[in-house]
């Protein structure tokens, strides 16, 4: 009996730690979305923070319920989230670069010119336009 109660308590503590860590990561990622200086950094913060947050919350849930059927669902949700999140981030980032969304002024963009030279939109870029691509954004 005593052992049983102990196990429940341990399980609950572990799952609470996981869920609280996930919630904290998601909260911090949302704050980052508000206060980071440019589009790319904001996207880095929000996509990854939210993905890890969802993963940790679901891990906590799986530990809490401790049933094989629940565990399988949790694993399925986590793996699909981790497969789809980077694809969305990649597509949004690529579109942003090709539409010349400005970078933060501290960003090192020396190798961006090399990229712009090789993209399909090459004919649209006149040399002076490519040179002042690195607009200064307000901090």
């Amino acid at each position: 009996m005593l052992e049983n109660i102990d196990m429940l308590l341990v399980k609950e503590i572990i799952s609470s730690v996981f869920i609280l860590a996930g919630v904290a990561f998601m909260l911090i990622a949302s704050i980052g979305l508000l206060r980071f200086p440019d589009f790319y950094i904001r996207m880095s913060a929000i996509t990854k923070g939210a993905t890890l947050g969802v993963g940790l919350i679901l891990c906590g849930m799986g530990i809490y319920f401790n049933q094989p059927s629940m565990l399988l669902k949790v694993i399925a949700i986590i793996s699909f989230t981790f497969i789809t999140a980077p694809v969305a981030a990649h597509v949004i980032g690529r579109t942003a670069v090709q539409n010349r969304i400005p970078f933060w002024h501290k960003t090192n963009t020396t190798e961006l010119q090399d990229y712009l030279k090789h993209t399909l939109l090459e004919e649209k870029v006149s040399p002076d336009e490519a040179a002042d691509n690195n607009h200064h954004t307000p901090e």
Partner: protein
């Protein structure tokens, strides 16, 4: 990959039958995953007989998985620290990462892993599959080469070992 899937299915069915017919262990997630992984790792040495490269690759895949989890957690903590402290310590950069990987699956895996590690985002791949363009935060002292070396040595080397 086929062997891996086959082993997973065998281990799953074995665990299911184990709990259906024997009442030795209580039925919950811990014991179920315990039985599953026991069967899975008992099947692993038998692959020496029919699929030797699988025997070699499974530890590397597990190594890659744990390295990836470690990187994701560390980088998330770093970016969280940057968010909750008033000054930015990040120095973002746009990198052109030359690839030694030539395999499509490997490049996809590498791009997804780079995107999932916070603070780096794979933006585009050059048409000849030679260069992956990456947007990273946290490039120390503007040393682009060192950052490239870190990605190449950390992720790409492990993926190359896994695929070839």
């Amino acid at each position: 990959m086929k062997t891996f899937l086959l082993h997973i299915i065998i281990a799953f069915v074995a665990a299911y039958q184990f709990f259906l017919h024997l009442q030795v262990l209580p039925y919950n997630a811990t014991t179920a995953s315990g039985v599953f992984f026991t069967v899975f790792f008992l099947l692993w040495p038998t692959s020496l007989l029919y699929h030797p490269s699988y025997f070699r690759k499974l530890p590397k895949a597990i190594n890659l998985f744990f390295f990836f989890v470690k990187e994701v957690l560390l980088a998330n903590l770093k970016i969280a620290y940057d968010i909750i402290t008033p000054n930015y310590i990040m120095r973002p950069a746009f990198l052109a990462l030359p690839l030694t990987l030539k395999d499509d699956v490997g490049i996809t895996l590498l791009a997804c892993m780079i995107s999932l590690t916070p603070g780096s985002l794979s933006v585009d791949l050059r048409e000849d599959k030679g260069v992956l363009y990456v947007h990273t935060l946290y490039v120390k002292n503007n040393e682009l080469e060192q950052m490239k070396k870190f990605i190449k040595h950390g992720f790409e080397r492990r993926i190359i070992e896994l695929i070839t």
